[in-house]
Amino acid sequence: MPEQLAYLDHAATTPLRPEARAAMLSWLGERFGNPSGAHRVARTARQAVDEARDAVAEAVACQPGDVVFTSGGTEADNLAVRGVHAARPGQVLCSAIEHDAVLGPVASVGGDTVPVDERGVIDLDALAGALAPGVTLVSVMAANNEVGTVQPLPEVAEVVRHLAPAAALHTDAVQAAPWLDLPGLVAGADLVSLSSHKLGGPQGVGALVVRRGTPLRAQALGGGQERELRSGTHNVAGIAGFAAALRATLATRDETAARVRGMRDRLARGLVAAVPGTVVTGAGGGPGRLPGCLHLCLPRVESEALLYLLDEAGVCASAASACASGAQQASHVLAAMGVPAERSRGALRLSLGWTTTEADVDHALATIPAAVARLQAAAA
């Protein structure tokens, strides 16, 4: 075991916030209950879910009745894409850098992707060109999970309203939620996907916000929970933990974002200075990047070998998305941004979060340049 551990993979998942743990514990012990029941045990569970619903609604600035709890971001994305398409068949568009949880469902209904520019920002002209009256759903993420670029959602919403007024707009806000002012960002979106474990809540719970009037057909049928949009007994402990994490995130968000941004910038400066030829992905211009995200392409190294050495030294990072087996896969995001394959071989994502400390940054700065130099020497 390495002596020091720097967890820099918050975009994959985050440590559980103590507030979330506290909110869950009673539901993992003395309290229990099926919120759909008609007795006092059920009613306490129902109250916990209702209060959590209020917390999500407040975070997004929607009505509590718009919140549909799901098993996480992936289910929320699937419900949004497949549910809208089932209710109102038509053409579906999404950006080329969506998470697989959107790309997969969009492909399954025969949808198309809209290109992004070299910074990883959706090409609004291309979007306008692709929009037509037959488009029923557009899905554009609020911020990208690999390179952290924030998308110009208000502009996207305006283009969609103008050129395809009947289309619903969905946004996967899973990565944006811990960092950005959601009500402003997603005001124009009809559907918003959220995930608990990216902001200090438990895994296995998330939500889809469905604004009133949005056509949506349930994909999981059964007991009719969640306004008949998502059947299945509620994950009461998870939902309570999600809400507590969300409240804790919002209470400290600006302060955390500023602190983490400072550490992220120090990490970026240090690595760029120490490893000649390093390219920071998605830097410059556009609405900006998430404060916690640092994506780099390091020269003359292979991501997997680098991740191995970092893991050995106690730096937890990632490259692109990992498949079910745990293997790293070529990044569709970098490909869409036009990053040359040779450069993307050395991709490294360092994602900071609410628990990140200056000591973590120091450890990463002490470890990464040495590991890169070692691999470069071996390849020479």
């Binding site: 997997e304 070998a305 050995e312 087996s325 745990g326 293997a327 790293q328 070692r374």
Partner: protein
């Protein structure tokens, strides 16, 4: 010693890992993700990765998955398909060993600080009095895999461990059982990992190549049968040529993919007493004289004499890049693309690929 063990999720590499741990090495397991497509026999499906990981957990060692899918496609699958386009039938497992396990993986292992890579192959590495090493047959003659490992040169042999090579398969399974490893009773993988038993070679190649119907002709050029895909015909093949029944058996003796013609003839026309080998790899320098020549993954070596021919130097190992093998007794012609491995006793001295 710090050892990276390549864990396929099968019983052999599971026991290889267990033995290395028992011998107090610093062991890490890795599963190579090679093939992303359909597979039902192979070594890199998610369930095989699961098995490898679970065994690693049981042994208390770290486990990683490394994706070499790009090189597997460009170095193994692509050339396999191309070879068929030209009527050759290569052994992709040998190319995988040459380019993936003992090149990409070994190089990366050394780069990140390992002293050696271990696999679960049934073969042994023996050290000779002069300090050179040779690959030798595994203790279990029926499971010997030295044939598919002939591409290892001195540099690779010095950095490779084969912990189960001195064991029989029964012993490997018994040890896995005694240790309670979940892979103890897992069936052996037999076939090419990227070809499913349902679609077969034809189904796989049909998605990658335009397959062409071919005429089957006799020695006088008369059409006697037909095949749906001339690219799938292997020299020496007897069935599936659309020949009328009765008469003495006839075999594909020559395949001309460009002209879409398969020539058939009697067994005697397949008999050859020599084969020219290309892309020769020598274990420790060229050998001239008496050898045993094995022409398939499973089968006996045939007595022969080898003569290195200095044709194309500079293909990796120093020394002639081709050789002529003259068998003591003529035998069935080696299909183009197949590897022929040369032995002295149980030791591999070299090998190469049969030319057209």
């Amino acid at each position: 010693m710090k050892v990276l063990v390549a864990m396929s999720g099968g019983v052999d590499s599971s026991v290889a890992a267990a033995r290395l741990v028992a011998a107090e090495n610093d062991v890490v397991g890795v599963t190579m993700k090679l093939w992303g497509g359909e597979s039902d026999t192979g070594c890199c499906s998610v369930s095989d990765v699961d098995d490898a990981r679970r065994v690693a957990q049981q042994l208390g060692i770290d486990h990683h998955v490394w994706n070499f899918g790009d090189d597997f496609e460009s170095r193994v699958v692509g050339p396999y398909v191309e070879a068929h386009r030209h009527g050759a039938t290569p052994n992709p497992c040998i190319e995988c060993n040459r380019h993936l396990k003992f090149d990409r993986l070994l190089r990366r292992a050394l780069a990140v600080g390992f002293d050696a890579v271990a696999t679960g192959h049934h073969a042994r590495i023996v050290e000779r009095p002069d300090g050179t090493r040779r690959l030798a047959r595994g203790a279990d003659a029926a499971k010997d895999q030295s044939y598919v490992l002939y591409v290892l040169g001195q540099a690779e042999l010095a950095r490779t461990l084969l912990p189960v090579g001195a064991m029989t398969k029964d012993e490997v399974r018994a040890e896995a059982g005694a240790l309670g490893l979940r892979t103890a009773d897992k069936p052996d993988s037999q076939d090419v990992c990227f070809i499913t038993s349902t679609a077969g070679r034809g189904g796989f190649l049909g998605r990658r190549l335009d397959l062409h119907a071919g005429r089957v002709v006799d020695g006088d050029g008369r059409q006697v049968g037909s095949v749906a895909a001339v690219e799938l015909v292997t020299v020496g093949q007897r069935r599936g040529l659309g020949l009328p029944g009765g008469g003495s058996p006839r075999y594909a003796v020559d395949v001309d993919v460009a002209a879409a013609i398969v020539r058939v003839g009697p067994e005697s026309e397949l008999q050859r007493d020599t084969v020219v080998l290309e892309r020769m790899v020598w274990a420790d320098g060229p050998v001239e004289g008496r050898v045993g020549a094995q022409c398939a993954a499973h089968g006996a070596a045939r007595p022969a004499a080898v003569t290195p021919t200095s044709a194309r130097p500079g293909l990796g190992d120093a020394g002639p890049a081709s050789a002529v093998v003259r068998f003591d007794r003529p035998g069935r012609r080696v299909a183009p693309g197949q590897s022929v491995v040369l032995y002295q006793g149980d030791e591999v001295v070299g090998g190469g690929i049969a030319g057209g």
